[in-house]
């Protein structure tokens, strides 16, 4: 049911872990519905220098988390904010239909992390 690319990211997820003293953190989902994604950013000169994730969820949740970190790394914040859940799914050669709404939230977590960073800067 999953594409080879999803299985590849599920088996060898990129950028798993946490960043100590992160520039921003974003979390989406809740444990009741079975998916929680947490993204940690290290931002320097408006560029995402490092990004890590931790995810509780199904294969699609883990693969989309991994993919969004790969897509965002090295990008400017403005570029990274443009990444959509749909684009993440496309990069994984698609997700099963029932997974599109519940487990495809990684880009939202990224946006929240960027927002968190911006809020911290504004203070």
């Amino acid at each position: 049911m999953y594409s080879d690319k999803v299985m590849e990211h599920f088996t060898n997820p990129r950028n798993v872990g946490e960043i100590t003293d992160p520039s921003g953190v974003g979390e989406v989902g809740n444990s009741v519905c079975g998916d929680i994604m947490k993204i940690f950013l290290k931002v320097e000169d408006n560029i995402i220098k490092d990004i890590k994730f931790k995810t509780f969820g199904c294969g699609a949740a883990i693969a989309t988390s991994s993919m969004v970190t790969e897509m965002a790394k090295g990008k400017t914040l403005d570029e990274a904010e443009q990444i959509s859940n749909k684009a993440v799914a496309e990069m994984l050669d698609g997700l099963p239909p029932q997974k599109m709404h519940c487990s495809n939230l990684a880009a939202d977590a990224l946006k929240k992390a960027i927002e968190d960073y911006k809020n911290k800067q504004a203070v």
Binding site: Y2, T11, E27, S31, G59, A61, I62, C102
Partner: protein
């Protein structure tokens, strides 16, 4: 890579002797049992012999068995058939919150037709209390339907006690024995049941064949009409190969049940013991002892079930889960939730159901590949803080 099938509650491989029996009726003996000629008579003989075998397996008379397409149809026919036949007596049905959807959805459908349904709660082990059944009975109660053994957690219900209550009050009693039949004794007079649903593909017969026991003399109406087959109780030309297969599978199950139950219980208990001893934050779902001999269900906290299944599958181990992600809905298993298990833990459930081809080596293999999988998924989980200090509570709070 080693392949281990641990999903026998989902379905079983067809037993070679059953396949052989079935092949005979697919191939040579193809007649219609209703035909008067030789070909028909031969097929009729196969159907009636299979009926005797199934009847013998549950301690009933052959004429009390009708063949159906499987457990779901048997449940439907029992529940609706009793409801419609006893409308003038009452409109109340008692069931439990851990039933298979084949029972729950038919009860729900009857609610829309004016029937009242009481869905009984279960305790933390998934057990229905006979006292709660007694308390729920009213003058209007016409049917009690409680499963024999649960498909998700393996808990065996006190069917005999509930049966006695039903019998005393003159209420018809149905049990879905799809998971228990062939694994533990199912005797209609010991369990005091009036209707029993059974399924072929859980006992090494093919998919698409099942049976319903209907106690002689009870008030019941057939749901489908259209011919004289099965004494007008389930019309349509008989699935002769399937019926012959079910008969053969029931016969083999009776011959092997005692030894097989003892063998699987040892494997089951070894698996439970080693997992419970070697992992933190893991629980056994279902009753610790009153459970099917082949049935294990763990909940690994901080892990989601589908990830666990995919990881096991990559190692060649086929199991299943009560996770929402495997059912296509957002809600985790209604059975685990009914047992009071929090959703985030229910999502991490893993069901292992053993069968005739499993052995010690399979269990060892599973126990060998499991630690790396659990470790990897927990390391990835934001719910799991791998800390050595007594952070049990902070993990729990964080989780919410």
């Amino acid at each position: 890579m080693r392949r281990v099938y641990f999903d026998h509650s989902a379905t079983t491989p067809v037993h070679p002797a059953v396949a052989e029996e079935m092949y005979r009726y697919v191939n040579k003996t193809f007649g219609n049992p209703s035909s008067v000629h030789f070909f028909g008579r031969e097929a009729r003989k196969a159907v009636e012999e299979a009926r005797e075998k199934v009847a013998r397996a549950i301690g009933s008379r052959p004429e009390e068995i009708i063949f159906t397409s499987g457990g779901t149809e048997s449940d439907l026919m029992a529940i609706k058939g009793v409801a419609y036949a006893n409308r003038n007596k009452g409109n109340h049905i008692i069931t439990s919150s851990v039933e298979h959807h084949a029972v729950l959805d038919n009860c729900k459908a009857l609610e829309k037709e004016g029937f009242a349904v009481t869905v009984l709660p279960v305790d933390a082990d998934g057990m229905v209390s006979p006292d709660s059944v007694a308390a729920a009975i009213t003058d209007k109660t016409i049917l009690i339907t409680i499963m024999h053994a649960n498909n998700e957690v393996g808990t065996i219900q006190p069917i005999g006690e509930i049966g006695r209550l039903a019998r005393e009050r003159g209420i018809l009693f149905h049990t879905d024995a799809v998971q228990s039949f062939g694994k533990i004794p199912v005797n209609v007079d010991e369990l005091l049941v009036d209707f029993v649903s059974i399924s072929g593909h859980k006992i090494y017969a093919p998919k698409g064949i099942g049976a319903l026991y209907i106690r002689r003399g009870v008030r019941w109406l057939p749901i489908s009409l259209g011919g004289g087959q099965e004494r007008k109780r389930r019309p349509g030309t008989e699935n002769v190969p399937g019926i012959a297969a079910l008969g053969k599978a029931a016969e083999i199950a009776m011959e092997t049940m005692a030894a097989e139950a003892a063998r699987l219980t040892l494997l089951r208990d070894r698996m439970i013991k080693e997992v419970m001893e070697n992992y933190s934050n893991v629980r056994l779902n279902g009753h610790p002892t009153k459970r099917l001999p082949n049935h294990v269900n763990f909940a690994f906290e901080f892990i989601e079930g589908e990830s666990l299944l995919l990881s096991l599958d990559l190692q060649g181990v086929a199991a299943s889960s009560g996770s929402a992600c495997t059912s296509g809905s957002l809600e985790p298993s209604h059975v685990l939730l009914a047992m009071g298990i929090p959703p985030e833990i229910a999502h991490g459930s893993l069901r292992i159901t053993l069968g005739k081809d499993n052995n010690e080596e399979d269990v060892s293999y599973f126990l060998d590949v499991l630690p790396a999988i659990i470790e990897r998924l927990r390391a990835m989980s934001p719910l799991y803080h791998k800390v050595s200090d007594d952070c049990e509570t902070c993990v729990k709070t964080w989780c919410r």
